[in-house]
């Protein structure tokens, strides 16, 4: 089935078996293996990508459902792989094996946006008040991304550091 996807700003016209998930289309057809498959069932978050700016589990979506959609994967988060968030993950050791890392990065990118839009979370004390980016808020919002190496402290520090200064100084991080 013909499907047009714009991935990381580049248009792609694909002819797909209807069974191909968005994740497998990215990994196998477009050779963008940055998005990972940890469970294939929405249970780990390793496949998290942004579709029209929102984070989803690419393993639980059919590629053909995304005709015309804009998709951003870890490869598209920055041109040089050294965005403030990416640099902060290295600096704070927000990874060990690195397998969950692309999903964490895509998720974190969306979380910062969700917070900016005032979306509450399960741990927000007040549903209607402004959202404060605390460690607890972040931990809840990032809980859809499992890290078995258990780099949660580093991941949280990395995201908080970017949220706080807006950017991480490149030189410092390199």
């Amino acid at each position: 089935m013909n499907t047009n996807l714009t991935v990381n700003g580049r248009p792609h016209a694909l002819d797909l078996d209807t069974r191909v998930t968005l994740l497998d289309a990215l990994r196998d057809q477009l050779k963008l293996t940055g998005s990972k498959k940890g469970c294939d069932h929405g249970q780990c978050g390793a496949c998290t990508v942004l579709v029209n700016g929102q984070r989803i589990n690419a393993c639980l979506s059919l590629a053909v459902m995304h005709d015309g959609d804009e998709i951003t994967t870890v490869e598209g988060l920055s041109s040089d792989g050294r965005s403030p968030l990416q640099a902060a993950f290295v600096r704070h050791d927000g990874m060990q094996c690195g397998y969950c890392t692309p999903g964490q990065l895509c998720s974190a990118t969306a979380v910062l946006d969700e917070i900016a839009r005032g979306w509450p979370s399960h741990v927000s004390a007040d549903l209607e008040g402004p959202v404060e980016l605390t460690r607890e808020e972040l931990a809840e919002r990032m809980s859809g991304n499992i890290c078995r190496c258990s780099c949660y402290p580093g991941i949280s520090k990395a995201i908080l550091s970017v949220a706080e200064d807006g950017t991480v100084h490149r030189e410092a991080a390199e």
Partner: protein, 323 residues
């Protein structure tokens, strides 16, 4: 996955025609694709309704009209929901993960299938998956199973958090039938108990599409949703409670309670509410309410703890509401 034809419906009529020809609806896909991958569900044709114009939330008769395609994220973040139906926001936010909520829809969430691990395992028997094959869960390992509304053929649990909140809010489901007519059905009549036909889960007829969920005018009162689970986030409920309570001077004026984690469907028992209305909350009343709620509970081995959790949640919820 078994090969299937895929149709993207641009309007409801196309969708219904495809359904009429034996298709299965896909909305967010987070439950259907999960099960299709394991070939627990094997539709030959899939009808994508995700681009139908069913994704607005609008005021309706003093209440709210929620399109079936509204995502769980959008619904939880809607300012009217946060203000007037906080129990619904809370229930949604306690479910799944941020990623899944972005994809999961109102209609799909209502119709998600049980998480009974034997249902998910084609190598075991399951009356829900293969009618008449038996139930491997009974006599096996029970934890995320129901204690109320079960039968000898199935002890599966309805896993939704959202539906528990909708039940406590007296929501109605808007259904469009094959002939194009729409009608509203109270959620209380929407889910069927397993009985001897656990594979039939709702009163939907073939070709029916859920177009919306309608909430009545907010009743005020104190609303809360509390969910107990095996880890702090990203896990289904062991037991949950949704409540809307109007109380004055320690006395209950009006009350609605619904429970997750215990029922073959999102559980509500109006006998309990009727019994409590006008009463003063004390230990005795709480005990009586719990006993009544659980009077028909079937506590199979491994599920005994749920009764205790229900009593405890009931107690803390009622105590907090009258404080």
């Amino acid at each position: 996955m078994k090969p299937f034809d895929y149709t993207r419906a641009d309007d409801l009529q196309t969708a219904q025609r495809a359904l009429h020809e034996g298709g299965t609806v896909i909305a967010g896909g987070t439950n259907l694709i999960d099960l299709m991958k394991l070939e627990v569900m094997t539709p030959g044709a899939v009808v994508d309704i995700s681009r139908l114009d069913l994704n607005d939330i609008r005021d309706h008769d003093g209440g709210l009209y929620i399109g079936a395609m509204v995502t769980n994220s959008d619904l939880a973040a809607d300012l009217r929901v946060r203000r007037d139906y906080p129990v619904l926001s809370r229930a949604l936010l306690a479910g799944a993960s941020g990623q899944l909520r972005n994809k999961a829809t109102t209609g799909g969430n209502l119709l998600q299938r049980t998480r009974c691990p034997y249902f998910y395992d084609r190598d075991t028997s399951c009356n829900k998956r293969t009618p008449g094959s038996g139930c491997a869960a009974i006599g096996g390992e029970l934890r995320n199973h129901a204690i109320l509304g079960t039968s000898d053929d199935c002890v599966a649990l309805h896993p939704s958090d959202m539906a528990v909140a909708l039940r406590v809010l007296d929501a109605q489901v808007e259904i469009e039938s094959l002939d194009g007519t729409r009608h509203l059905r109270p959620l209380d009549d929407f889910y069927r108990l397993p009985g001897t036909t656990p594979h039939i889960e709702t009163s939907l007829e073939p070709g029916d599409i859920i177009t919306a969920v309608v909430l009545p005018k907010p009743t005020g009162g104190q609303q809360s949703y509390r969910k107990i689970r095996d880890r702090a986030s990203y896990a289904f409920a062991l037991v949950s409670i949704a409540s809307v309570i109007n109380a004055r001077d320690g006395k209950i004026e009006n009350i609605a309670l619904a429970f997750g984690g215990i029922g073959a469907r999102p559980w509500r028992d109006t006998r309990v509410e009727d019994m409590m209305r006008g009463q003063t909350v004390d230990d005795q009343l709480i005990q009586k309410a719990g006993d009544l709620l659980l009077s028909d509970a079937r506590l199979l081995e491994g599920l005994e703890f749920k009764a205790d959790l229900v009593h405890r949640l009931l107690s803390s919820t009622l105590t907090e509401a009258v404080q």
